[in-house]
């Protein structure tokens, strides 16, 4: 089973929920941090990393000995990533989406592929919990290809928990697509609600069952709850604002470490999700 933890708005507590749930469940669990622009889960899990891999995406390289400057590569490219100027061909690797069109269309077979570095993937573990995250190279614009690479580490025989990035566009979709359940973490504020509605829209497009967690549930107003009821979205957990939790978080400590009684709540959260996705599939 794959559970994706997303939010729309940033800073609502995705990583808190993902790490606490993963650690509470213990073995036969893997945590994939797909917020590759700003991965944070490792700061709480402290995994021992035993594999580091540089991830690249294919981009064109032109052999000018073979090129006859026909211009077909520039014509097919939708991303302005390769152009013929005068007597030369200029690839712009940072614009390239790696579709392979230019290489395929070149009548002289003058184009081959080399790699543009997207970032690294690190894999490790802590107390039987398997941990994988991607780190986007600073300056690299495209995160979805790296997110898809992180997701290739998902194993069907265990529970996979995905920590997704904020927002509702392509990186979030790449982190939710194909999940069995999406857990949306929100806060009861106008910003939280506005972005929650967008996130629910994205989950609906993908057709994945979802539930809510309301963080800092005693700050703000009750409009998130009214919305949840109207939309029939189950509220699976509420985490009240507690300065102790906030300060522990600031030091990189998890809720279940400073307040062990929360472990039971995270286990129950998982049970509820399991039941909900079971009912959906049977």
């Amino acid at each position: 089973m794959i559970i994706s933890i997303a939010s729309g708005k940033g800073g609502t507590g995705k990583t808190t929920v993902a790490t606490n749930m993963a650690v509470s469940l213990g073995g036969d669990v893997q945590l994939l941090d797909c917020d590759v622009e700003e991965p944070n889960a490792h700061l709480f899990i402290h995994p021992v990393i035993n594999e580091v891999k540089t991830i690249t995406t294919p981009v064109p390289e032109v052999d000018m000995e073979k090129c006859n400057l026909c211009g077909k590569c520039g014509e097919i490219c939708q991303f302005k990533a390769i152009v013929v100027i005068g007597k030369t061909v200029l690839p712009f690797p940072e614009m390239c989406h790696s579709c392979g069109g230019c290489m395929e269309v070149c009548p002289e077979k003058a184009i081959t592929e080399t790699g543009r570095e997207l970032g690294v993937i690190e894999r490790g573990s802590r107390n039987g919990l398997e941990f994988v995250h991607g780190k986007l190279r600073v300056g690299e614009a495209m995160s979805p290809p790296l997110i898809r690479k992180v997701r290739e580490y998902a194993r069907p025989d265990v529970l996979t928990i995905i920590d997704a990035p904020p927002g509702t566009s392509c990186p979030v979709i790449a982190s939710m697509k194909g999940a069995d359940f999406v857990l949306l973490v929100t806060e009861p504020t106008p910003f939280g609600l506005n972005d929650l509605k967008l996130a629910v829209g994205a989950v609906k497009i993908l057709g994945i069952p979802c539930g809510l967690i309301i963080n800092r549930s005693d700050m703000g107003d009750d409009k998130v709850k009214i919305y949840a009821e109207k939309e029939n979205l189950p509220i699976l957990m509420e985490i009240p604002f507690d300065r102790k939790i906030a300060e522990a978080y600031s030091r990189g400590e998890m809720i279940v470490e400073v307040m062990p009684e929360w472990k039971e709540k995270f286990l129950k959260l998982y049970q509820q999700i399991e039941e909900m996705s079971f009912h959906k599939n049977h």
């Binding site: 729309g8 708005k9 940033g10 800073g11 609502t12 990583t15 622009e37 700003e38 944070n40 700061l43 709480f44 097919i76 939708q78 991303f79 989406h97 790696s98 579709c99 392979g100 069109g101 395929e104 269309v105 986007l136 600073v138 300056g139 690299e140 614009a141 495209m142 995160s143 990035p165 904020p166 927002g167 509702t168 566009s169 392509c170 990186p171 979709i173 697509k177 504020t189 106008p190 910003f191 506005n194 972005d195 967008l198 829209g201 994205a202 497009i205 993908l206 700050m219 703000g220 107003d221 906030a246 300060e247 978080y249 600031s250 030091r251 990189g252």
Partner: protein, 295 residues
């Protein structure tokens, strides 16, 4: 005209609340919400939309089943696994590269332009505002960010305003890169947590990569003063100007719930006092072309 872009790396550190507060304090400015993925500034600015436009960007492949002979070439060439066994394109998986459209021997694939959002020119109680809404699950957010910043600048220039205040997106990827290019300076809103520090370091690196002068302020400072100091030390090391500290103050949430800036809600709150100091430092910082440390 100068442009200040507020970013953070980590989400939820208070970019939008701060930008709204600055809007209360700044003279002669226009506003721009470049967080097109999850735009929130309008919830405080309450804009009256004067002009509305479709955002058209990119294409999407559509297979015409009447003409398709199911030869399979498109499925073979598509690197996004976007074409199903019964030859239907999954619009979410389609990257819009056009390879299938270009090579289809039956010319059975259409490649229409996509409408993937809307953008608006509005009036607010603080001045003109450019903002946008990217369609849910859409791509090309970087292009929409570039467009909306350009429109924001036009709004400011039309009324001969001195400043464009731009609310940027979280992260370090394509929309953030698009929000930084050509900006006068960027203010990074950090929080004193392990995540806040980690993410701030990466976004400082990003600003340096694109040679945009960076300044930093720390929100919720008293949550972890040691971490706050560590962030400030890192900033100084990297020639990033430290603009000030904001205490943890529920006034931000209370003001937001009422759709107000913190100054409209309570201009004597601790949060408001701290933001005022930061704003004064920012004004000085923006005046000098190189944003050096305020003494």
């Amino acid at each position: 005209m100068k442009e200040l872009v507020v970013i953070s790396g980590k989400g939820g550190t208070g970019k939008t609340s701060l930008l709204a507060a600055f809007a209360s304090l700044a003279n002669r400015k226009a506003l721009c919400d470049a967080d097109v993925d999850a735009a929130d500034l309008h919830l405080i600015m309450d804009p009256r939309i004067k002009e509305r436009y479709d955002f058209e960007s990119g294409h999407e492949a559509v297979i015409n089943s009447d003409m398709c002979t199911q030869c399979g070439l498109c499925r073979e060439l598509c690197r996004w696994n976007a074409i199903s066994e019964d030859f239907i394109v999954d619009p979410i998986a389609c990257e819009g590269c056009g390879v299938c459209y270009y090579f289809c021997p039956e010319k059975a694939i259409d490649f229409p332009l996509k409408t993937c959002g809307e953008w608006y020119l509005s009036e607010t109680r603080f001045g003109p505002m450019a903002h946008a809404r990217l369609g849910i699950a859409e791509e090309n957010s970087g292009k929409l960010v570039s467009l909306i910043r350009k429109e924001g600048k036009k709004l400011a220039e039309k009324e001969s305003l001195d400043l464009l205040l731009t609310d940027g997106p979280p992260g370090i990827g394509c929309p953030v890169i698009a929000s930084l290019g050509g900006a006068t300076a960027t203010l990074i809103v950090a929080e004193p947590t392990v995540s806040g520090r980690h993410d701030m370091e990466r976004v400082v690196e990003l600003a340096a990569f694109f040679k945009v002068p960076a300044m930093v302020c720390i929100n919720k400072y008293d949550l972890n003063p040691d971490m706050g100091q560590a962030i400030e030390a890192f900033a100084r090391e990297r020639n990033v100007t430290v603009m000030g500290r904001i205490p943890f103050d529920p006034v931000f949430t209370k003001a937001m719930v009422q759709g107000k800036t913190i100054f409209e809600f309570d201009d004597r709150s601790e949060g408001s006092k701290a933001v005022k100091v930061i704003w004064e430092n920012l004004v000085k910082g923006l005046e000098t072309s190189t944003c050096r440390e305020q003494s």
